[in-house]
Amino acid sequence: MEAWAVAVVVCAAYLAITLVTGVASGLRVSHSVAGYVAADRSMSLVVLYFVLGASIFSSFAFLGGPGWAYSRGVAALYIVAYGTIGMIPMYFFGPRARRLGERFGFVTQAELLAHRYDSRTLSVLLAVLSVAVFVPYLVLQMKGAGLILETISGGRVSFAVGAGVCYAVVMIYVLTSGVLGVGWTNTFQGMFMMVVAWALGLYLPRKLYGGVGPMFERIAASEHAALLEAPGLDGGGEPWTWAAFGSAVLVSGLGFTMWPHLFMKSYAAGSERALRLTVVLYPTFQLFLIPILLVGFAGVLAFPGVEPADSIVPFLLTRLDLSPILVGLVSAGTLAASMSSGDSILHAAASIGIRDGVARLRPLDDRAERLFIRILVVALSLVAFYFAVVSEVSLVALLLGAYGGVAQIFPLVFAAFYWPRATRAGAIAGLVSGLVVNTLFLVRPDLGPIPGLHEGIYGLAANTTALVGVSLLTRPDARERVDAFVEA
């Protein structure tokens, strides 16, 4: 068999295992919305650990991470840095959200906030924000899957077929098994991608330079030495500023657990212990970014000038004389990174769109809600597929902008749990002004007083000011509602 065919067969085997795991896992859960969206609040530590870890590590980590290390050097440490600080709030918010979810039947983030602030507007606003940030995120995952299969097969598996087949698998197990399908496939995918990342990250520097130390020695002695000067380079190859690096870490860190698909996993946890322990163990998952970044650094001197930088991993796979089985395994690892985030996003987007959007405007019974969520799973898959394959719209910029938008949820969640004086009007004013200011500085960065500062910082400043100011000017929210949250 030809080398490319061996690699494609390995990927096909990976897809088959994922499909079987995903479909089989749904046989154990109840036929209710709580079962479909929150696994009947029964997820064990192992599944929860991999769901969170694998959902976070998307094809951005697997393709974009090495791409950053390759083209921007130590700027890529930003990805490790924000993950380090970003998961911590979950230790404090998560158990409270879980207790409230059990008491009031919440399965999404917007339900919790809409209840605390007694606002349907807030729920619909958060549903629109979630779906708006999830679609480009999903499209990028699909593009990652299509790209990797097209590259390793030398174009014999087209981009559209590759992305289509991978996401047909995702759609089937999300449709049949809901969040448990996501859970068990992510457990398999998470273990798989960790092994692949460590193997590749240690192997490549050794093969090309004789080890990690010698690799960095040679980079430091070369014309690319600026890559190792913190905080690295910007997208144009000029030195990045500390304001840009630090603010990007801070905004992404604060937004980290606010991503609705991650936040809502608090409700799926089988126990508080499982949830807390998942946060405690999360840094062990985060460690796997280290070999991922080493892969990018390995390309610097061996293959300079690869464009776009994000294609450095598939480029290395095809240029180095590697065993086709290894190429297949690494490609399947990349597919795992893409699909284990894509499934979680697809499931969350559909659940949130119906439960926090449609059902808030027109009441649905449990059965109808499940049906509508499934219809939306199919519809969103098709929309994302269209954008991935047909449309030429640049989504990377859109997604980077989304991080600042998602971070705007942080003050509302914090105030819901810790500031009894926060009011409905304050919460809506905070979120809206945060989103408007964030978007303004995203579109017109030249208006910012501090060059390079992440637009999310301006958004958070406006958000917090409006939340506090308007809350203090309006009547306090109903006591029992507030107390349920601050005493949870």
Partner: protein, 93 residues
């Protein structure tokens, strides 16, 4: 607040309420300490407070100092989380 110091019925505290009232003093102290450490790590990862930790050399276990510094912050966070979790489990909080 009424003359005897008790809050007026229906009055709300203006400030943050970080604890809900039934935790032990040790529990509160530990959580405050942990959050202080978290803020310190956040500063350590966003601002070059101590510039040498962000320099390329010397190499630590083959990695540039900045790379090793970020990993060290991750390790410290992990140890602190384990400490907080274990002490809270022990007390059954």
């Amino acid at each position: 607040v009424k003359g005897d110091g008790r809050p007026e019925p229906g009055a709300r505290p203006l400030g943050l309420r970080l604890f809900n009232g039934d935790e032990s003093a040790r529990y509160r102290r530990r959580r405050r300490l942990f959050v202080a450490l978290w803020i310190a790590v956040t500063l350590g990862l966003t601002v070059p407070v101590v510039p040498p930790v962000w320099s390329p050399r010397p190499f630590v276990l083959g990695l540039p100092t900045s790379f090793a510094w970020v990993i060290a912050c991750l390790a410290v966070t992990f140890v602190a989380l384990v400490w907080l979790y274990r002490s809270e489990r022990r007390e059954g909080d």
